[in-house]
């Protein structure tokens, strides 16, 4: 193989060949590359939106639950110390109760709408550091520490806000309306709806919140917790902090990372990753076939020249390499233009205008890994797509190549 000659032939062919064909080929490669990165990035964005939603509004990073057979986390000393662990931003303790909520719209005892929902209590100062529900009020306002007879409810409970479980809702509760809550210990209380929130998680939108003090007065408990959400600075290092938390004395409590609790959404994330992978493979094959066709047409058009090159003593490997170099050149230029288009046009566009998906606000998640895998995929596709037609053309006998 003569590398210098292969590169020389590829260079002159690109430089002096048809400019129209060159532009079209590069355009096709750029689009094939953008397609590869875009598909992975948009699915990456969807998965990220799901994860972000779970972290911001439902689980935070770590969830501590009572040990088996216990209703509450009762190690009060340890609970107090969680926030002192370096790297932990904040923690928020909740009481959780299964409640029955009812709404008598006309206060006449007729057509009372009711359902069973999860009611959680929050310590306002802690909660705002851990979740983002306070930024998701679509009607009214968030709770304050002093509130006792006020409640905030998710849009799936309130109804009338385009929720996906409208038929199970209270049918259109508004701020200021009064709703009756029956707790699991049979205590009944009436609360005024202070606010209605809507996040991108149906599970959270089916919850209601009251203040910690109010819940403690109903449940007759003090400074305990049904669950504690813990927020940390570095997502991905949850296991390190779980160990730290255990070292505080919460040894038998059930402590989990947010992603262990995702359930349905976790399988949805896995499905999106799988779809992304399948579409990526199809995209790579399409790119490879495209390159194959481009090089095949070039080889067919240059069939006679290939025969001449062989006649003057050029080895088949040198001829094959010259076509492979061309294919790689198209791929590399396609990658450079594709990366530029994605990073400087598509990504900023999506960041400024994220898509409103049911799972959250979805933007393009362009990662180094996606870029790297797409680069390798396109280069490999070009290598294979360029090699086979070149190999086939170069293997033909000299006389057949020159005279057909």
């Amino acid at each position: 193989m003569n590398l210098k000659t292969s590169f020389f032939l590829a260079y002159t062919s690109i430089k002096r060949g048809s400019k129209g064909t060159l532009v079209m080929t590069i355009l096709i490669m750029t689009l094939a590359y953008v397609n590869l990165v875009f598909i992975s990035s948009i699915f990456g964005g969807i998965v990220e939106a799901i994860n972000k939603e779970s972290i911001n509004n439902q689980y935070s990073n770590i969830v501590i639950e009572p040990e088996i057979d216990k209703k509450y986390i009762d190690n009060k000393d340890a609970i107090q110390l969680i926030d002192t662990v370096p790297g932990i931003i904040a923690s928020s303790a909740h009481y959780i109760d299964s409640t029955s909520i009812s709404y008598d719209e006309y206060n006449d005892g007729n057509d009372i709408k009711k359902g069973k929902w999860v009611l959680k209590s929050i310590d306002i100062e802690d909660e705002v550091k851990v979740t983002e529900v306070h930024n998701s009020m679509i009607e009214g306002s968030y709770l304050e520490s002093t509130d006792r007879d006020q409640i905030i409810i998710g849009k799936e409970i309130a109804g009338g806000h385009g929720g996906s479980l409208e038929h199970l809702s209270l049918g259109g509760v508004s701020v200021g309306d009064k709703i009756d809550v029956s707790f699991s210990n049979n205590i009944k209380r009436t609360y005024t709806v202070k606010g209605i929130f809507s996040v991108k998680s149906t599970q959270v939108d089916q919850m209601a919140f009251i203040t910690k003090k109010e819940m403690e007065s109903v449940l007759k408990v003090h400074n305990l917790a049904s669950e504690i959400l813990v927020k940390i600075d570095n997502v991905g290092e949850e296991n390190i902090y779980i160990n730290e938390i255990r070292n505080l004395g919460l040894r038998n409590e059930d402590i989990k990372r947010w992603d262990e609790l995702m359930g349905f959404t976790s399988s949805a994330s896995s499905s999106f990753i799988m779809i992304s992978l399948i579409l990526g493979i199809i995209g790579t094959i399409v790119a490879g076939v495209t390159i194959f066709i481009i090089i095949f047409v070039s080889v067919v058009n240059k069939r006679r020249q290939i025969g001449i090159l062989k006649a003057i003593g050029m080895r088949e490997s040198t001829i094959i390499l010259s076509f492979v170099v061309q294919a790689l050149f198209y791929a590399i230029v396609g990658i450079v233009l594709g990366v530029s288009f994605i990073l400087f046009v598509l990504r900023p566009l999506f960041l400024a205008n994220p898509l409103d998906f049911p799972v959250g606000w979805v933007s393009l998640k362009v990662t180094f890994n996606i870029i790297r895998i797409s680069n390798i995929s396109l280069l490999l596709a070009s290598l294979v797509g360029g090699f086979f037609p070149a190999f086939r053309g170069a293997r033909e006998s000299i006389l057949k190549s020159i005279w057909g």
Binding site: R16, R304, Q305, A311, I312, G313, L399
Partner: protein, 221 residues
């Protein structure tokens, strides 16, 4: 003898096998200018292709420097063609993307000659065929006769032992044909270049030292 052919046969297999060459025996001396002539289908081009290692005979020997070239593998044949043989084809056979200079230095590049040297040698060779002022011209910017002279320069730049020419003037007008044939004659006389040329033009006889006549795959005289 620079090349010797012994019992050379070429049969194209098929439903009815075609015996293109039947037991050919002859030799060519160093510095000879030989024409292979005969009617269409006589086997003259087939013989040239076997001699130039562009095709493999069914049987027989082609001896050069004591070696039977028929027995070489494809890689060795490529190398032999590059170092020892030169070709001029009927229809110019230049790469459209290469300038005259690039076309000519391509074989030297394959031989691993330095850039400075291959540019110098290729320029000299183009000058020798009268194209010293056409170095940077692409094939489409040259006439048929000029393109064929570039092909001759390319064939000669690596100083081949034998130059094979397959009807080199078939696509040229009378004037250009004469230029090419005179160039062959000049190269034969001045540098002692051995040339084997296939032609069907009876007039070309005046340029060559010897004519090998073929008829139905057999040497007539």
């Amino acid at each position: 003898m620079i090349i010797e052919v012994k019992n050379l046969k070429k049969t194209y297999e098929g439903r009815v096998p075609t015996h293109a060459l039947k037991n050919i025996n002859f030799g060519i001396k160093k510095g000879e200018f030989v024409a292979l002539m005969g009617r269409s289908g006589s086997g003259k081009s087939t013989l040239l292709h076997q001699l130039g290692l562009l095709d493999t005979p069914t049987s027989g020997e082609i001896i050069m420097n004591g070696n039977n070239l028929v027995l070489l593998d494809e890689k060795k044949k490529s190398e032999f063609r590059l170092k020892e043989l030169g070709y001029v084809f009927q229809s110019y056979a230049l790469l459209p993307e290469l300038t005259a200079l690039e076309s000519v230095y391509l074989p030297l590049m394959l031989l691993g000659v330095t850039k400075k040297e291959y540019i110098k040698k290729a320029s000299e060779m183009l000058d020798k065929v009268g194209l010293g002022d056409r170095l940077q011209h692409l094939p489409r910017e040259m006439s048929g006769g000029e393109q064929q002279r570039v092909a001759i320069a390319r064939a000669l730049v690596n100083s081949p032992a034998i130059l094979f020419a397959d009807e080199p003037t078939a696509n040229l007008d009378t004037e250009s044909s004469e230029v090419i044939l005179k160039l062959f004659k000049k190269l034969n006389k001045e540098i002692g270049q051995t040339i084997v040329m296939v032609t069907h033009e009876p007039d070309d006889k005046k340029y060559v030292d010897r004519v090998i006549w073929l008829k139905d795959g057999v040497i007539e005289s």
